[in-house]
């Protein structure tokens, strides 16, 4: 009986957290996106609005997979970053100021994604930790400078979700999750879920790219 009560409580919590899916905002206008029809996306390192040092580049490493799986050619994020730094542009905020014509000249990108990291990291309170990742992103047609898509996503996760009750159990739970968190950054893992919301939410995310479907090159 006790167990089933907990199960229902879990269901109730999950349902609350899912309400964002049930009532989505109105679909975006994709006319400019369709007209642009980019084949390739150059992802710049995120502009950092957080105090996290590792956040921007940790987040950057998560975007290649979802964008590639959506069917776009995604320029290798690390090599793009290295190329820009080798040309004297060290800071992501400066990278966001590089003229599109220059980016297009050295990469041939059809579109450029400008991410901004707005929140990144964990806050520890006595028996719990809350991890938040928030990202905004704008996709610009590199050929004419037109903004063809913009979206934002924010996710928050508490580490205290699976306690069995009792103060001792809660303390053990908090200790264990902090140890695990320090080994594998929880904000990094939440970033991957932020990408799903940011890029793949129907009516809000990106339109599928040219390789979506069965036409990806075989070798």
């Amino acid at each position: 009986m006790n167990l089933s009560k907990k199960a229902w409580l879990g269901l109730a919590c999950l349902s609350v957290s899912l309400t964002g899916c049930v009532t989505p905002p109105p679909p975006k206008d994709y006319a400019a996106f369709r007209a642009s029809a980019p084949r390739s996306i150059l992802v710049l390192p995120p502009k950092n609005e957080t105090v996290s040092v590792e956040g921007p580049y940790s987040y950057l490493s998560t975007v290649s997979r979802p964008l590639s799986e959506l069917g776009y050619y995604v320029f290798p994020v690390h090599e793009v970053d290295e190329l820009l730094k080798a040309n004297g542009v060290m800071d992501p905020a400066e990278m966001h100021q590089i003229p599109l014509a220059k980016l297009r000249e050295v990469t041939g990108a059809d579109a450029v994604l400008y991410p901004t990291l707005k929140e990144y990291g964990s806050k520890y309170v006595v028996l719990d930790s809350v991890t938040t990742v928030s990202v905004a992103a704008t996709l610009v047609d590199a050929r004419n400078g037109e903004v063809i898509w913009t979206n934002a996503a924010r996710l928050q996760l508490s580490s205290n979700g699976n306690n069995q009750g009792g103060l001792l159990a809660q303390m053990v739970g908090a200790l264990v999750s902090q140890i695990i968190n320090s080994k594998s950054d929880p904000a990094h893992r939440i970033s991957q879920q932020v990408d799903v919301v940011l890029f793949e939410t129907p009516g809000q995310g990106l339109l599928p790219g040219p390789y979506f479907g069965a036409s990806a090159p075989l070798r």
């Binding site: 899916c21 290649s64 994020v77 690390h78 050295v106 041939g108 090159p217 070798r219």
Partner: protein, 129 residues
Amino acid sequence: MAGRQVSLRSGWAIAVPVLLLCGCAAQPPKQLYGWGNYEELLYVSTTKVDSVAPEKQIETMKTDRASFASTGQRIPPGWRVHLANLYTQTGHLEEARVELEAEKVAFPESAVFCDTLLSHLGRPQQVTP
């Protein structure tokens, strides 16, 4: 008796959220590409949180490539460029050039970028026509 009731209710508690999640899912389950350890290597390269020797990363990518080939998975965009970068770091310029040329063949969208990188590739051996 009581045990059966609990498991039935638990079953619903699992089934209902799963149904709700299905309604939200945007993506078909099948993947365009194999990923192997590539995302981990990207994390290591971009954040520099853990330092993994480039030789070790090359070995990891070679193992992944063999696994992609044996399971019929495609190599993702940028993967060969990353391997080329590791080859460059370890002085294997010819191997790097081969990977960059292969990226251009697999993904024509990468041609300008790969040519930019090729022009920075130290002094690769001149191929006689």
